[in-house]
Amino acid sequence: MEQSLARYIWTHTWKQQLWILAVVAASMIPFYMSFNLPKLIVNGPIQGQGFETPGTTQPFLRLAYDLPVFGETVFFSGISLDREQTLFALSMVFLLLVVVNGLFKLYINTYKGRLGERMLRRIRFELVDLVLRFPPHQFRRVKSAEIATMVKDEVEPLGGFIGDAFVQPALLGGQALTAMLFIMLQNFWLGLVALVIVMIQLGIIPRMRRRLIELGRQRQLTARQLSGRVGEIVEGIGAVHIHDTSNYERADIAARLGRIFKIRYDLYQWKFLVKFINNFLAQVTPFLFYLIGGYLALQGRLDVGQLVAVIGAYKDLPGPMKDLIDWDQARQDVQVKYAQVVEQFSIDHIVDSRIQAVSSESVPALDGPIAAVNLSLVDDSGARLLERVSVQIKPGEKVAVVGTAAGGAEVFAEAVARLIWPESGRIAIGGTDLLQLPESVVGRRMAYASSDAFLSQGTLRDNLLYSLKHAPLTPTVYDGELETQRNWEVGEARKAGNPDFDLNSDWVDYAAAGAKGPDDILLVIRPVLEAVALSRDILDLGLRASVDPSRHPEIVDRIVELRLALRERVAAEGVSGLVVPFEPGAYNQQATVGENLLFGTATGPELADKALASNPYFLSVLKSAGLDEVLYNMGLEIAGNAIELFSDLPPDHPFFQQLAFMTADEIPGYKVLLQKLKGRSYATVSEQDRAQIIMLSFAYIEPRHRFGLLTEDLMARIVEARSRFHEGLPKELAGAIERYDPMRFSTAASLMDNVLFGRIGHNQPDGPERIRAIVREILDELGLYDEVLDIGLEFNVGVGGRRLTGAQRQKLDLARALLKRADFLILNRPLSALDQRAQDQIVRNVLEEAKRDGRNPAIIWVLANPAMSQLFDRVIVFHGGELVEDGTHETLAARNGIFKGLLS
C-alpha cells in the first residue's frame, strides 16, 4: 500500500478534490455577496440614501462596469424601483442568497462525506484483500482481533478527514490570508504584530502537538493489543478455567487498562495545555493592538477608525487559524493511524493478486504429476521440519503417507496444500511451480482436509458447499427496483475500487461436483456423506428440527403415512411398548401430566411452561374438573421427594439434569414454601403459592419418576379435563396452543415428534436409539430420506461450527473436500477426533467413493493408522524430517525398517 496518506488520497481522488475546490471557490461569490447585502439594505431603502425625495426611483440589478478599453459599459440598465419596492427586492435577494449559500454548503458537505466514505470503503477493502493474500506464515504472528480492530476502528477517522484533506487548508488558509492582508493594509506595524503572533502560534503549537501525536500512537497500539488480548481470552476460555488462571488474566487486563489510562490522561493534560497556550496567544494580540495601537493613536500616527477596523478584522483571524491548526492536527493524527495500519499490512511475499483472480471458466484437469524437488521446510523458529525431500506422485496414484511423531508427514501434506511455503526446493505440478499456479486451479483441482476443520457460521449446507463457491457462476436477473438497486451497488463498488461480484448469484459450481444444478446436488451429496459416516448425524439433526411446511411440503403432506408406517413397523417387530401414541381419549402414561392435560404444543407464551399454572382459563378448567386440589397435593408430594433427594447435592451437580420439576436454584425456595404450607388446608393457601406447587405436577411422568402418584381415576379425570379445556378454549388462547391431531402436521413440534406422535416408552432399554433406527429405515423405504437430509442440512452450525461435535466437524471438512471431485486429494490425518475403528472404516469408504463415476484421482493420505496403508498403491514413510522409505506395503513391511516398526 501507498506509504503516504496525502499521496494515497490524491492518487485516488484528485479529480473529485479539484472539483470540490472549484465548487468551494464558486461558493465564495454568493458568500461575499451576502456579506455586502445588509449594508445595501440598511443604507438604501431603510436609511433612505438615494431616496431623498418621495417618488425617486433607483435602478435595480443594474450591471455596469468601467472597463479599461471600452469605458463605462452598461450590460443591463436595470429595473427602476421606488423605495419600498427596492426594500422588498433587496430582501428577496437576501433570502435567495441565504438559500443559495445553504445549498452550496449542503452540496459541499455531502460531496465531501461521500468522498470520504468511498475512500474508507476502498481502504477497508484493500486491507481485507491484503489479508486474503498474506503468506501463510504471517498468520502465526498476527492476532485476528487486532486485524479486525485495524480494519474496523483504526481506519474509521480517515473517512472523515479525506473529504477535508485539501479543501479545508485551501479555504481556511485563504480566509486567514485575506484577514492578514486587510490588517497589513490598515497599518503595517499592527500587521507586523499580528503576523509575529501568528508565526509564534504556527511555530509552537504544532511542535507541542507532536507529543500529542506520539501519545495518540501509543493509545492506538495499546488499545489494539487490548482487543487482541480480549479476543484471546474469549477464544481460550477453556484453558483459563482449566488452569485457574482467570485472576492472572484479570491482572493482565487491569495492567493494560492502567497503561491505557495513563496514556489517555497524559493526552488530556497535553491537549488542554496546548489549548491554553493557543487561546492565550490569540487573546494577547488584541492586548498588543490596544497597547501599541492606542499609543500610536495618542501620538497621532494612527487614526482611531483604522484601529477599530484592525481590531475588527483581527476577529476573523483566530477562527480560521484555529481551524487550520485543528485540521493540521487531524492530518497528523490520521497520518499516524494510516502509517500504523499500513506498516502492519506491508509484508514481504504478499501473494500476487493474479494468483487469486476470479475465474468462471471450468479448469482443465491436472494431468501432470506432483513433484517435490529438494523440498525443505522450516518453522517460525527456523527449526527444520523437512529436509531435502524429493518425491513424485503421479495422477491417479493412491499414496499412504505415514511417519513417526513430528516425522514430517503432516508438514509434507501441508506443503502440498500450500499451507506452508518451501524454505528451499520446490513443489511443482506438471512442471509448474505450485506457488505460481492460480488458486482457481489449485483450489478446484486439488482438495485438502486436515484435522483442524474450519467452519463458518451458517447452515451445514453452506459449509458443505463452501468448497464449490469459487466464482459467481449464474448471473442473477434483476428487474424493476431491484435492478436499479443492483446498478447502484455495482457503480458504487467500482467507484470505491471494490469488486462488483454479485453475492446473490449462485456461486456453487454444481458441475464440478457432478450435479446439474441445485435440484440434484443432493444426489451427489448423499453418497459423500455416507462415505464419511455423517449422513446419520445429519438425518438426526433433520429429525430434531422443526419443519417449514412451505419449504418441505412433501414431508408435511405425508406425515400421516409416516406415522402409520411407524406404528405398523413397531407392531410387526413386537415392540409396541416402544412408542405410546397420543390418543385424544386416553391418558398417555409416558407423557407428562401437563402434556396430558394440554394435549397439544404450546405455541405462545400464555400456556408455555411456568405460565400454564397461573393461566386463569386453565385454572378454571382444573377447578371445574375438581383437579386443582388433587394436583396441588401431587405437587406437594413431588416437592417433598425432590427436596429429600436433592437437597444434599451442590447446585451444579449433573444429577439435576434428572430433576425435571425444578432447577437447583429453586430448591431452597421450595424448602421454605413447604415449611410454610405444612398442615394448611388447600382453601387457605394463596393463589400464587398454589400455582407454584401445582406447576410441579405438570412435569410428572409415572414410569419415569415412580413416586406412585397416578391412579386410574386420576388419569380418567385428566382426560376429561383435557376435552373440557379444548371445548371451551377462548378465542384469545386459540393461537397459544396447537392441539395434537393424528391427521395433521404440527409446525410447533420437531419432525421426530411429528413422526412419533407419541412418547417413547421410558422402560424401553435404548428406546430413543432403537426408534431412530426404525425411523431411518422407514424414511428410506418411503423415499423421504433425502428430504429429511435436506432439512438436516439447514442446521445452523454456530460460530466456528461449535454446535457440531469435533468428529462431525472433521467429517464435514472431509466431505466437502471429496465433493469437489479434485484430481489430487490430500488428506492430512483428517479424522483425529474419531476412534480408530471408525477412522479405518471411513478410509475404506473414501477410497471407494473417490472412484465414483469412473474417476481416478490421486490420493495422498497421511494416515493415523499405518496398518491401513495396505489399501494404497504406495507408501511413503517420513522420519526425522526425511523421507526414509518409499514402496508398496508388502515390500516395506518385509523390510526391517521404520515402517515395520510403525506397523507393530
Binding site: R706, F707, N763, P765
Partner: protein, 154 residues
Amino acid sequence: MLLNDEVGMLRRVPLFSNVEPAKLKLLAFTSDRVSYGAGQILFRQGDEGDAAYVVLSGKADIIVDSPGGQVKVAEVEPNEIVGEIAILCDVSRTATVQASMPLEALRIRKDHFLRLLREFPEMTIEIIRVLADRLGHTTAELSEARSQERQAKH
C-alpha cells in the same frame, strides 16, 4: 413398582445393603427402569460397559463366547446385580447377558454410579468392603484350587 420398592430391592443387593436409604433412593431415582422381553439382550460380550443392572424381577442368563460356541455360565436372579465390574474398571463386557423370561431391571449408569461414589465416601467404603470381601473369597478359592491342583499333580 415404585421408587420406594426399588430402594427396598437395592438394599437386598449385598453391594448396597449397608448404604443409607436416602442415597439408595437418589441412586434409584437417577437410574432408568427398563423392561426386557424373553430373549432380549441386556449387553453383549466385548461391548463397552456403560451401566450396571439390578434385576428387580425375572431372570437372565450369563453367556460366554467360547471356541465351542456360546456357553451359559450362570444365571441372574432378582436382587442381583450384573455388569458392575465393567463400570468400576474400564474393561469391556466379559459376558453376554440375555433375559430368559420377561425381566425388569434398574439400569445404573456408569457416570452416575461413579459420581455417587465420589460424593458419598461412606457409600464408597461400603462398596470397597463388599469387593474386598469378594476378593478374599476368590483368593481363598484360588489357593484351594491351586493346592488341589498341586495335590493332583503329585
